[in-house]
């Protein structure tokens, strides 16, 4: 077991290339237990690749990754990754629910088959989690019958059903219609308030600023800059960070966070970018 002051996630000089194309060029990243860490940056900069490396879906060629006490770079073979993946949830941009299973079964299949939970317990847990993401009324529905925002909330509940120590969110609102972004961000906001350790790749800058303990700005496979949300958003040190933020935040007519998005326990200061 990691002690409380060892970070839950630690990447040291992680390098990954697809063929001859380098995609990660020496990533260093640390996530403390209970922290919410956001990774921002232009698309193609390697953000999703970082998340995939964390659970061994991709294998870096060089560097050290420690996740929840596991030296991920020393794991070999699919089976060796299973204990790690039980403890790390992954929520995808395109939800990736299992279309042949009802919402309830999407939440019970892995706890039953992987964790060995009895059917009744898995079901009760699933219903409680669906209530938490305000989807209990759709327990019997199939994913194809739900809106994008609803599917994504179910996907978050599905990840929670494995009782993870860490959840990775990969642009989970990018595929959603604007009016559904808020309902999903609310759920994530509540999780971070409860102390769930989260790594978020996101383009929702105000949201990232509001909930993150640390923000990393990536570009072309390197971490350009990282720091507290306040520091990175309000006093970025690097010209590239400034340019990116100006582009992401400053454009006139850019979509606002919808009114439905209300995050409690945030000082007004955080919301006034």
């Amino acid at each position: 077991m990691p002690s409380t002051d060892t970070p839950l996630v630690r990447l040291r000089d992680v390098h990954l290339a697809f063929g001859a194309t380098p995609v990660l060029k020496g990533i260093d990243l640390t996530v403390g237990k209970g922290q919410a860490v956001s990774i921002i940056g232009p698309s193609g900069s390697g953000k999703s690749t970082i998340l995939r490396c964390l659970t061994g879906l991709l294998k870096p060629q060089r560097g050290e990754l420690t996740v929840a006490g596991t030296a991920v770079h020393q794991l070999h073979g699919e089976a060796a990754h299973r204990p790690l993946r039980q403890r790390v949830g992954f929520v995808f941009q395109q939800y990736n629910l299992f279309p042949h299973l009802s919402v309830l079964d999407n939440l019970t299949v892995a706890p039953r088959k992987v964790l060995g939970l009895p059917a009744r317990e898995a079901r009760e847990q699933a219903l409680a989690l669906l209530a938490k993401v305000r989807m209990q009324h759709k327990a019997a529905a199939f994913p194809g019958e739900l809106s994008g925002g609803q599917q994504q909330r179910v996907a978050i509940a599905r990840a929670l059903a494995m009782r993870p120590e860490l959840i990775l969110f990969d642009e989970v609102t990018s595929a959603l219609d604007p009016e559904m972004v808020g309902e999903v961000l609310n759920v994530i906001g509540e999780l971070t308030e409860e102390g769930m350790t989260c790594v978020l790749v996101t383009h929702e800058m105000r949201f990232a600023e509001g909930i993150s303990d640390q923000v990393y700005f990536t570009e072309h496979g390197v971490i350009v800059e990282h720091g507290s949300a306040e520091q990175l958003f309000n006093h970025p040190g690097e010209a590239r960070t400034q340019a990116f933020l100006q582009h992401a935040l400053g454009q006139p007519g850019r979509r606002r966070i919808p009114d439905t998005y209300v995050l409690r326990n945030l000082s007004p200061y955080h919301l006034s970018v």
């Binding site: 659970t55 879906l57 699919e78 089976a79 990754h81 299973r82 204990p83 993946r85 039980q86 790390v88 949830g89 992954f90 995808f92 395109q94 990736n96 629910l97 299992f98 279309p99 042949h100 299973l101 299949v109 892995a110 088959k113 992987v114 194809g144 599905r158 494995m162």
Partner: protein, 224 residues
């Protein structure tokens, strides 16, 4: 004259239907055996025995069915010695085997195609939930394959039903064989014409609903 022809057809109708029963039996046995074998061989595609599966599929998908039927009919013995007893190995069963071989190769391909058509994101989601490789298949991939496999599988069955017509060439007493006997016995051209039209109608009545159902299913699953 026309009445005579119709009367002869009515007289032969029961024999034709019995013959058709033989075709139905062959087709159902062939698709059942071919599907069981094909699913097994298709599954080998995802194991280290993949080259063996590829070889089986290539050999039996590229062989003319009639050659396979001649092969099973004349190479296999007419009875087999099993546990000290002699079991008859009738011609209709050999024909069934001759049709089941290419059916198995096609089912294996249908399975492979269905697995390949499941988006990579489903694999990634399942793997990230700590499913084992076997569980990814049984819980996530294969259940989604069955609906996708149904239309091409029914299409294959329709083709096999037409292939059962080849059984008459190796002396199986099926509907074609019966029609030939009737035609020779009655020995009148109008009757011969009528009975072969009746054969066409029988096969059409058998295959057309299958093909319509297949199209309906294809359209339905196109939305998923």
């Amino acid at each position: 004259m026309a009445n005579d022809t119709l009367a002869a057809l009515v007289e032969w109708a029961p024999a034709l239907l019995v013959g058709l029963g033989q075709n139905v039996l062959i087709s159902l046995t062939a698709i059942a055996a071919g599907s069981a074998a094909g699913l097994f061989i298709g599954a080998l595609n995802f194991s280290p025995l993949r080259p063996l599966a590829r070889l089986w599929v290539q050999v039996f998908r590229n062989a003319p069915w009639l050659v396979l039927i001649y092969f099973t009919t004349y190479v296999f013995p007419f009875e087999v010695h099993l546990f000290g007893r002699y079991l008859a190995f009738p011609d209709w069963l050999k024909v069934t085997l001759g049709l089941a071989l290419p059916a198995s190769a096609n089912v294996a391909e249908i399975l492979r195609g269905a697995v390949g058509s499941i988006p990579a994101t489903q694999w990634e989601a399942a793997r990230s939930m700590a499913f084992s490789r076997a569980q990814v298949f049984t819980q996530v991939i294969l259940p989604q394959c069955f609906t996708r496999m149904l239309p091409p599988w029914m299409n294959l069955y329709a083709i096999i039903t037409m292939g059962t017509a080849l059984a008459s060439l190796v002396g199986v007493h099926d509907v074609i064989d019966t029609a030939q006997i009737a035609s020779n016995t009655v020995n009148r051209i109008p009757f011969t014409v009528l009975i072969y039209f009746s054969l066409l109608a029988l096969f059409f009545a058998w295959c057309f609903p299958i093909s319509r159902l297949t199209q309906r299913l294809e359209r339905r699953y196109a939305f998923h």
